[in-house]
Symmetry: C2
Subunit: 352 residues, 2 copies
Amino acid sequence: MNNFNDWLKSPVANIDSAAQEQAFQRQQQLTKPAGSLGRLEQLAIQLAAMQAMPLPQIDKVQITVFAADHGVMAENVSAFPQSVTTAMIHNFASGGAAISVLANSLNASLSVINVGSVDELETIDGVEDQRIASGTNNFCLEPAMSSEQLQQALSVGADHVTGCLTQGLDLFIGGDMGIGNTTSATAIACALLNLPAETLTGPGTGLNTDGVKHKAAVIEKALLKHQPALNDPLSVLQHVGGFEIAALTGAYLACAKQGLPVLVDGFISSVAALAAEHLSPGSRDWFIFSHASAEPGHQHIMAALDAEPLLDLGMRLGEASGAAVAVPLLKLSCALHANMATFEQAAVAGAL
Amino acid sequence: MNNFNDWLKSPVANIDSAAQEQAFQRQQQLTKPAGSLGRLEQLAIQLAAMQAMPLPQIDKVQITVFAADHGVMAENVSAFPQSVTTAMIHNFASGGAAISVLANSLNASLSVINVGSVDELETIDGVEDQRIASGTNNFCLEPAMSSEQLQQALSVGADHVTGCLTQGLDLFIGGDMGIGNTTSATAIACALLNLPAETLTGPGTGLNTDGVKHKAAVIEKALLKHQPALNDPLSVLQHVGGFEIAALTGAYLACAKQGLPVLVDGFISSVAALAAEHLSPGSRDWFIFSHASAEPGHQHIMAALDAEPLLDLGMRLGEASGAAVAVPLLKLSCALHANMATFEQAAVAGAL
């Protein structure tokens, strides 16, 4: 990225209201009672507006998982050990992770980008090495990263999207892997929404009640420590963020600025979407929210973004898995929109 | 069907609890926090129990739409004219209806069976002619059908499923088409659940508030007229049912008795599922409920069947469209279940 600050200040793309109106009109003519396909109608219209095409399509889907480690793991905030981040990077690459199976089933392209595992990894087929540091710092003691590292993480995400766009793309999905990252994401959301830690903190991968209490106390301590620096979204990401969350934010910003629809995954991804909206207001126009995470704080993020997720399946895995599961809904909404007969074509009488 | 009464009294198949347990154990070993795939885990386990296979599959999907007309249309209970039933039968066959597009997108087999359009139709490619009568009678004046006609309708559905099963099948989806059929379905549900018409009556394809009030009054009048005959589910279907609803009921019963999983569509289909459960208790074990219909009475049917539908997209079209949209969730749950690596395979450490 040549000039990061200019890029960050550049406006988001506008959706195409003419294509939106054409898609709306077409929906009224299809052989069904008006509105009877519910959100599938709205999705087709929304995608038409985003893709600037009266007949939108979801054929080329890019799924990118950003992985990194978190210094705050020193505070004992997760049910899983930190070594799992690295093991899962291998699992993504070898096809055994949930998102690997889903991407394969959906015929979507899957990229894995290591932006900061604790361990330096050998070269792995299918994993891009963009490691910024050996995990973030423990943000209970110091800022999670330097401003240069933050810029680097945002740029990795943004440059990745820009690169994907040169090959043509209908939809971008970002995902996260990083043991401890609900702690960072919760801290970011608390700072951006001015909410106490206990409101947003949840079990993540599976803490018990005491574990959740401890995690909330850790987050509250960090928020207090960095309080003077939490007055703008960039500084929030620097002080309590994670490399993969910042990379996701950069990717989402690049989508919004270049006009590519994003299907947002669950808790971590929604916090990245919230950060993107705070950094570049209007970004949210480019986001479709895929599923309601079982992580209890997610509903607050959804409310702040005025979002109603498509699915509510009790999922809480991350890795972009919830977004991947919602892809068929988008595909089917486009198929219905494009291929159903109109009342005129089918000689069906409309409503009285 | 050789002996209808024997068949009706025959028990439903048992699910396979050994396969269910094996699938449950496998889910605990896959590389994800336990339970983090939410309902997708439960679906895989449920399908394993139904298909008696630790690794279930949803490859061969049969979608069958039963179409018929309703004498109660004489009471002015729909926003659409009765001619639409016939026009939509043509639309299904020519590929322009929502379910035609969905079946094509899902690579599912689509059958359309005319069990009682008002008009006698010419031979249509892709439509099976099993027309029982020129629509049902107006059940405000007389029973909707004779007991012989009811038996015929149930048998059409059941025989169809039995025929499909000879070719191998992983999942059955039934759908409905029949202008006026929410009036019949609502009357059936009121009779089976002993609820007043105003509790269950909704706008169907798009009645306004006055239209819904009138429709509820029509249903209440019919329930009052036939009250002495509404003491068993067979008699309920005969007096206030429809040919397509009875055929759906017969199809569901055949699935339950022969052990084939059913993905149930919205309001009409759920009423048929309710009737099947009343006719052969335990049938419900074979039903997966696909979506929450926007028709307000649907939630009462779901509560009565202790069902939590997978999707809530505000759909209210019928034709099996909501069930079709949920098929990818079943496919993806099976793919995740079969193809994800175990902790051991991936050398990922489990929860502390």
